[in-house]
């Protein structure tokens, strides 16, 4: 079984199309999506429409929840996106589960298995610096989720890690909003089961990030240009 894993598209339809074409070329049995679909100053409407058409198994991200429900300290990007979507898109986002299991053995979540806004494999300091979580903290979050393959997103940091009992945790990184990895490439993963064991390929794919940056600039988000064209920015700079 070969599965493509995409996460944190953040409304970047240009990056998403590049990744989908790359996945198509390789051939997979399924595509799974880990949330934060639309929140970015690129093409949230086009991205939402594309996902409605794709109809792939997905879980909700913290930003998907905030786009639907709002929150006390609304983020201007979530507000912008909310204004772009219609009822169909909101219904789709509102119906996304916190977590789900695919094919009986692949567990999907956005942040950790039990929260969509908590970091799992990598965290960020209040200044936005990224750090690898401790073994103890990572193992703790996985307690009670007994699936051979656990998928998460949220940090935008691509990583694959194995728990003490052999369960594999994979974060594919972000399709549409590279952060703190020093590369503007779109990130995604392909996981594949061979002889009972899962192998992982973490992909970094060049695409037309200047076109995506132009969309952000057009919408008045000049501060996203550096992040989208270099991948060196961190979350505090957005």
């Amino acid at each position: 079984m070969r599965i493509a894993v995409i996460s944190d598209v953040h409304g970047n339809l240009i990056a998403l199309e590049a990744v989908l074409a790359d996945i198509e070329r390789q051939g997979v049995d399924a595509i799974l999506a880990l949330g934060d679909f639309v929140s970015g100053p690129f093409d949230p409407l086009g991205t939402a429409n594309r996902f409605l058409e794709l109809d792939v198994p997905g879980v909700r991200g913290n930003h998907d929840r905030w786009v639907v429900e709002g929150r006390e300290q609304d983020w201007e990007v979530d507000a912008l996106v909310r204004g772009n979507l219609d009822g169909r898109h909101r219904d789709w986002l509102a119906a996304l589960p916190l977590n789900r299991v695919f094919a009986g053995e692949v567990f999907m979540c956005h942040g950790t298995p039990s929260a969509d806004d908590v970091f799992w494999l990598d965290g960020a300091t209040p200044e936005g610096d990224v750090f690898h979580m401790s073994r103890k903290a990572i193992e703790h979050e996985a307690n009670g989720f007994d699936y051979p393959l656990l998928l998460c997103g949220h940090s935008h940091i691509a990583r694959t890690l194995r728990l003490a009992d052999g369960r594999l945790v994979v974060n594919p990184g972000s399709v549409g909003l590279p952060m703190a990895l020093g590369s503007p490439d779109a990130r995604y993963a392909i996981v594949e089961k061979h002889g009972g064991a899962w192998t992982v390929a973490l992909h970094a794919l060049p695409y037309d990030w200047n076109a995506a940056a132009a969309q952000a600039r057009e919408l008045g988000f000049e501060n996203w240009v550096e992040a989208i064209t270099t991948g060196w920015s961190n979350s505090r700079q957005l």
């Binding site: 610096d129 990583r159 694959t160 194995r162 003490a164 503007p184 061979h194 899962w198 970094a204 270099t230």
Partner: protein, 240 residues
């Protein structure tokens, strides 16, 4: 064009076999090898034979350099073990390997950085063994003057793909045989692929029988390699 990149095998036959099987499964046009092939308390002799015979474009790592330059008194415990396992033909081969190499005018290979086989490039690896990406100026400066679309490095055992502002891609495939500091015992390597004139990369993690590898290390007198080989969480301190 698809190119597999292996590095830092460190004498781990079982990991190398799993990676070469996976490479065969994926299909590539060629494989390149970034050094530190044999220094490990596992099966350095077998690894040296297989990699010599494979005749991949290969550079030497700091450990190959030490094996041919230093007397046995100057070697660490792991390299002293390694030396007892190797044949003269392996050392002769190491002596012929370059420190850096370019392939097909597109791919530049070094072990640490372009100027130093013992220096980390994409990780602040010597500061408390942290795995942070250094800042952009630091990473970019080391690529000055190297006019290749892809720059490859190893040494830190941490897989990463960084792209400079001018589009050049720097890739560290991670280590085939010795996992440290990242929390996974799986063997690592990378596949580069040129698509529409631009290079993309996949950083791969392949499970193998790491418990058997740890048993080999323990049987050879290096039980302290167990944590690194079986979990990938150990730091490099005290391994060599």
């Amino acid at each position: 064009m698809r190119i597999a990149v292996i590095s830092d095998v460190h004498g781990n036959r079982l990991a190398l076999e799993a990676v070469l099987d996976d490479v065969a499964l994926r299909g590539v046009d060629s494989t390149v090898n970034l050094g530190d092939m044999v220094s490990g308390p596992l099966e350095p002799n077998w690894v040296a034979d297989i990699l010599m015979e494979a005749d991949f474009p290969t550079i030497r790592g700091n450990h190959e350099r030490w094996l041919i330059e230093r007397s046995s008194y100057g070697l660490d415990a792991v390299d002293r073990f390694t030396m007892t396992q190797l044949e003269q033909r392996h050392l002769d081969w190491f002596g012929r390997l370059p420190a850096t190499l370019s392939v097909a005018s597109e791919i530049y290979m070094c072990h640490g950085t372009p100027t130093d086989d013992s220096e980390p490039w994409l990780d602040n690896w010597w500061r408390g063994r942290s795995t942070e990406l250094p800042d952009e100026a630091n990473v970019s400066a080391k690529a000055d003057g190297l006019d290749f679309p892809v720059l490859l490095c190893g040494h830190t055992h941490l897989s990463r793909a960084v792209r400079l502002r001018d589009g050049r891609l720097i890739v560290n495939p991670g280590s085939v045989g010795l996992q440290i500091n990242h929390g996974s015992p799986d063997a690592r390597y990378a596949i580069l692929e040129r698509k529409d004139g631009r290079w993309a990369v996949s950083l791969r993690a392949v499970p193998y029988d790491h418990a058997a590898a740890a048993r080999q290390a323990a049987a050879n007198g290096f039980p302290h390699w167990t944590e690194a080989l079986t979990t990938g969480w150990a730091g490099a301190e005290g391994l060599f």
